[in-house]
Symmetry: C2
């Protein structure tokens, strides 16, 4: 982790939602003191159980957001990409993160003191509304995740995750940034079975696998499998 510098929002190359709000008010622009921080691969961006100190905005890179479960077994809930916020879900209910975020590759993030965020949503109705929308999206996807993890067999869960990753990369062919183990944590499947499923789906000509490069060959079938397992 390397702190780059305290940055001025107006000169930031990657202007975020928060800036959208604060640029309308000079006093806010002077008050916000965002810092840009670079994290290396595997660096912990925030840790489950720790106090929420900053609102964190992903400027570049990719990170995994996961819950640390029992016996050191994790469940990855989402992959975070630029323009995502970290910490959204933890702002209101608890002063502590109930999940961890770790960089999957070098990540540049913008950090804004949580007190400033809180002030903003206390004072600024539009901001709270925006926060809420993003909040709602997260909840909907978590609900879906409960069903998926609980009621689909491993083929169905695996198909789901492939579709998710493809959609995240906006491409049927994508570079898998996760290890086999992490892919397992995304769909709650053991590492060994992930390897077997990759081979199985490749055999069935549903996907192509070349090391970390995955290509979905038959999206329709994949959607079918996601539904019926």
């Amino acid at each position: 982790m390397k702190i780059n510098k305290e940055i001025n929002c107006t000169e930031c190359e990657n202007q975020c939602d928060i800036f959208d709000i604060i640029k309308t008010q000079n006093d806010l622009l002077n008050k916000v003191k965002p810092i840009h921080v670079t994290f290396k691969k595997n660096d912990i961006i925030c840790k489950q159980g720790n106090t929420v100190t900053h609102g964190i905005y992903i400027v570049s890179g990719t990170a995994k957001l996961y819950i640390e479960g029992l016996n050191n077994r994790n469940i990855i809930l989402y992959i975070l990409k630029p323009h995502n916020y970290v910490g959204l879900l933890s702002f209101f209910e608890t002063p502590r993160y109930f999940y961890s975020v770790v960089a999957l590759e070098q990540c540049k993030v913008c950090m804004v003191d949580v007190q400033f965020i809180k002030q903003l949503y206390r004072d600024n109705h539009l901001f709270l509304c925006r926060l809420n929308e993003a909040f709602g999206k997260s909840v909907a996807s978590i609900m879906q995740k409960i069903i998926t993890l609980n009621q689909k067999n491993i083929r169905g869960r695996f198909a789901d995750s492939l579709l998710y990753l493809s959609q995240l990369n906006k491409n049927l062919s994508f570079n898998l940034i996760l290890t086999r183990k992490e892919l397992g944590e995304l769909c709650a499947i053991s590492e060994e079975n992930i390897v077997r499923l990759l081979a199985e789906f490749k055999n069935e000509k549903i996907i192509d696998v070349q090391k970390k490069q995955i290509t979905i060959l038959d999206e329709t079938l994949l959607r079918k499998i996601s539904e019926v397992g």
Copy 2:
């Protein structure tokens, strides 16, 4: 389902959070047109997939909130009691419920047109803040549920649900309002295994079971089981 009457908030015997807000403004008091509705046991209060038309507040009785999963298998997320809101989670993201609510016993609910609720949170900052807090609580408990359902064995999940029900009833001894099947849907366990677990825990003197009356005899042990399975 029986519509009682359009009721006036000021004369309501069970004043809710929404009233707290609107009583401060006369124009709101005139605009809100809440209706009280009584549902019989097993009546559907709201149905997954349907349009969200009302904010629903539980005035009396008990209901189950569940996601309808695959192959007609449900997962009960919470049991709703008086002073809970239904629909909270669905307000922002989608115009449709992503879960269903069914009365477990006769339920009286107060329904407020969703347009009014939306107006309220668009105009009223305090109201949106309150909504947010409740929202946050829900998310935290759903996160917990993901871990529980996914990583605990059936003994652990079962112990969890017993503790949840005890806490809900604010008593170590409580009348189980759920059927064995529904208790299964609460912890994602088959009906048969629920029966076996009830007998098992009774044998181990952790709980007492007399038909629908369940008494937790050894809460400490139950918490231990909830942790380690």
